[in-house]
């Protein structure tokens, strides 16, 4: 059961803009959710337009809050996200939240590295902002992996995090040339081995990225929490539809037991890449 009871609400869109090709930033008014949401939590968004096709609501990580405002970053992947992205300022999103668990925050002596792959940046923007505002831990770094420089404009909305951020692009058009996991590896190599035990990694991204990341965190014995993405039906832990197998073969509900799990527990589960 969720310790924080979710609410269902019609949230008015205060601002919407295509902040990178195919990626939309939304600021919506949802005080009951914004005041309580923690980094790592998500909301379910009903696809607008009435009718029953598409039928199910879509889960999205919360990428920030400010007063009564809730921020979302939505990448157009199909008909549901297409319809949501067509909404205009002043219209409403029908949402449920806050849902799921959240990142366990690091203590002051820890150095945190946030590793984002593509749209996986969303919950880590919320976490990064939270860490900055609470000045805990002393230091953190945000590593953002994207295909090319074009998607880097997502960060313009989050300029307060630019000084913490290093970008990796697959085509080398900006920042580090390679994957975000390669970039992480070069970062860790600069740190004295004795200090890697003070590192804590937070991650969100595609499953192949998380698999590559797990190889590094296991090699250096670094603790890593990852937020998992999947398709959901209920979003509240009732339908058992969104499970992921842990290392013991137990199916965990991503919506209610997660979406944040210790990476090590999940990456060894059966069908992780399915």
């Amino acid at each position: 059961m969720n310790s924080i009871q979710p609410v269902m609400t019609h949230a008015q869109i205060c601002a919407v803009e295509e902040c990178a090709p195919g990626i939309f930033f939304f600021a919506i008014t949802a005080p009951d959710i914004a005041h309580r949401a923690m980094p790592g939590q998500f909301i379910m968004v009903h696809v607008p337009g009435g009718g029953t096709d598409p039928l199910l609501p879509r889960p999205f990580s919360i990428c920030g809050t400010e007063g009564s405002l809730l921020y979302l970053l939505i990448k157009v992947k199909g008909i549901g996200t297409q319809r949501i992205s067509n909404l205009q300022e002043g219209q409403f999103l029908h949402i449920i939240g806050p849902l799921g668990n959240y990142f366990v925050l690091p203590d002051r002596n820890t150095n945190a590295i946030l590793v984002a792959g593509g749209i996986g940046i969303a919950p880590l923007l919320f976490l990064g902002t939270y860490l900055q505002q609470h000045s805990s831990p002393n230091k953190f770094k945000l590593l953002y992996g994207i295909p090319s420089a074009k998607e880097a404009s997502v960060l313009e909305r989050f300029s307060h995090l630019l000084c913490y951020c290093d970008i990796a692009t697959e085509d080398g058009t900006t920042g580090f040339h390679g994957t975000v996991v390669d970039l992480l590896d070069t970062h860790i190599r600069k740190i004295a081995f004795s200090q890697t035990k003070d590192l804590f990694i937070y991650a969100c991204g595609p499953r192949p990225m998380l698999t590559a990341l797990a190889a590094i965190t296991q090699n250096y014995h670094i603790t890593c929490q990852a937020s998992f993405e999947t398709k959901m039906a209920c979003g509240v832990g009732a339908c058992m539809g969104c499970v992921i197998s842990d290392r013991n073969g137990v199916y965990k509900r991503i919506c209610a037991d997660g979406p944040v799990f210790p990476l090590d527990d999940m990456v060894q589960g059966v069908g992780f890449l399915k």
């Binding site: 979710p6 039928l55 609501p57 959901m232 009732a238 058992m240 539809g241 197998s245 069908g271 399915k274």
Partner: protein, 319 residues
């Protein structure tokens, strides 16, 4: 006319429901997952996720996929088992002022009977719904629901262990649902729920693999509603026990089709994913329908389908 003076009471066996709107098994976990989103105490009843004697891990993922106006699921009856249900979930369910119906299944007739006997001894259970129709597990479930004799054997065995209102949930994946219904009623069922999901399949053409981990799954949602309405109507003409209609109900209009076809009550399943407030809105919507059509007792709507002699004639011609 206000909602208060409308009589929405319906009776399922010896179970009296304040209204005919029930939340279906499988979409509502163990009754508390939707806390804060659904006021269950306004509802007729709730039905918990199907449980088995021992815990069941369920199927490997992916377990769900969206389809046109519906979804396929192959959860595989992932559940915590009887002991954990009684210890961890039933005390929380007892706190709710709403009848709790427990859905359960077994892998043999004996297991169905044993579980019925154990559930019969528990406090806080208002009725039992026997699942003989899950398409997503190999042993049990649908194996008992597609054969009239097997369905009757399970029903008889369970009936012998409990005096609780006994509802049997039927599969639509059969040639004649009327035959199964008659067989189950003769074996002692107090009521029938119909329909469970319809077996289906979705293929990912790029990888040329099935999308679901279980290959096939059960189709639910508005896509199956016309089939469910037809089956309720067919069965209602042959059995005297109450029928609980389920299949793609999201609005009061959907629910009313089932009542008019002959259902005494309805269940909302996949619909609560679309709108958690759907069950409550259905109650309000039925009330306004009753007011608009000058009905005082909801029972006067049940089976009120009017079939003109003309359509009966064309029915006869088709044969």
């Amino acid at each position: 006319m206000s909602e208060q003076i409308l009589d929405m009471t319906v009776i399922i066996g010896k179970l009296v429901l304040r209204n005919p709107v029930i939340i279906a098994s499988g979409v509502f976990g163990y009754g508390r997952e939707y806390d804060g989103l659904i006021d269950v105490e306004r509802l007729g009843a709730i039905i918990t996720k199907g449980i088995s004697l021992r815990p069941s891990l369920g199927n490997p993922g992916p377990r769900i996929v969206e389809t046109p106006s519906g979804m396929l699921n192959a959860i595989g009856l992932h559940n915590i088992g009887f002991d954990a249900f009684v210890k961890e979930k039933l005390p929380l369910l007892r706190q709710l002022n709403v009848p709790v119906i427990v859905n359960f299944y077994g892998s043999s007739v004996e297991e169905y009977a044993e579980l019925a006997r154990k559930l019969n001894e528990c406090d806080g259970i208002s009725g039992l719904e026997v699942n003989i129709s899950c398409p997503n597990i190999r042993n049990g479930g649908i194996a008992f629901g597609i054969d009239a004799d097997m369905a009757a054997a399970v029903t008889r065995a369970v009936r012998g262990e409990t005096a609780l209102p006994l509802i049997v949930k039927l599969s639509p994946n059969v040639t004649s649902i009327v035959d199964i219904a008659l067989s189950v009623v003769n074996a002692g069922a107090d009521a029938l729920s119909l329909i469970n999901t319809i077996t289906g399949m979705v293929i990912d053409i790029e990888s040329q693999t099935p999308v679901l981990g279980n290959i096939t799954g059960g189709l639910s949602g508005p896509a199956i509603r016309p089939i469910a309405v037809r089956m309720v109507w067919e069965v209602a003409q042959h059995v005297a026990v109450p029928i609980i209609g389920v299949g793609g109900i999201i609005t009061a209009d959907d629910a009313l089709q089932f009542l008019i076809a002959g259902a005494t009550a309805i269940q909302v399943g996949t619909g609560i994913f679309v709108n958690p407030k759907a069950p409550e809105e259905i109650i309000t919507g039925i009330a306004s329908f009753m007011t608009r059509h000058h009905y005082v007792h909801i029972t006067d709507i049940i089976g009120s389908l009017r079939v003109s002699s003309k359509s009966e004639d064309s029915d006869a011609r088709d044969k």
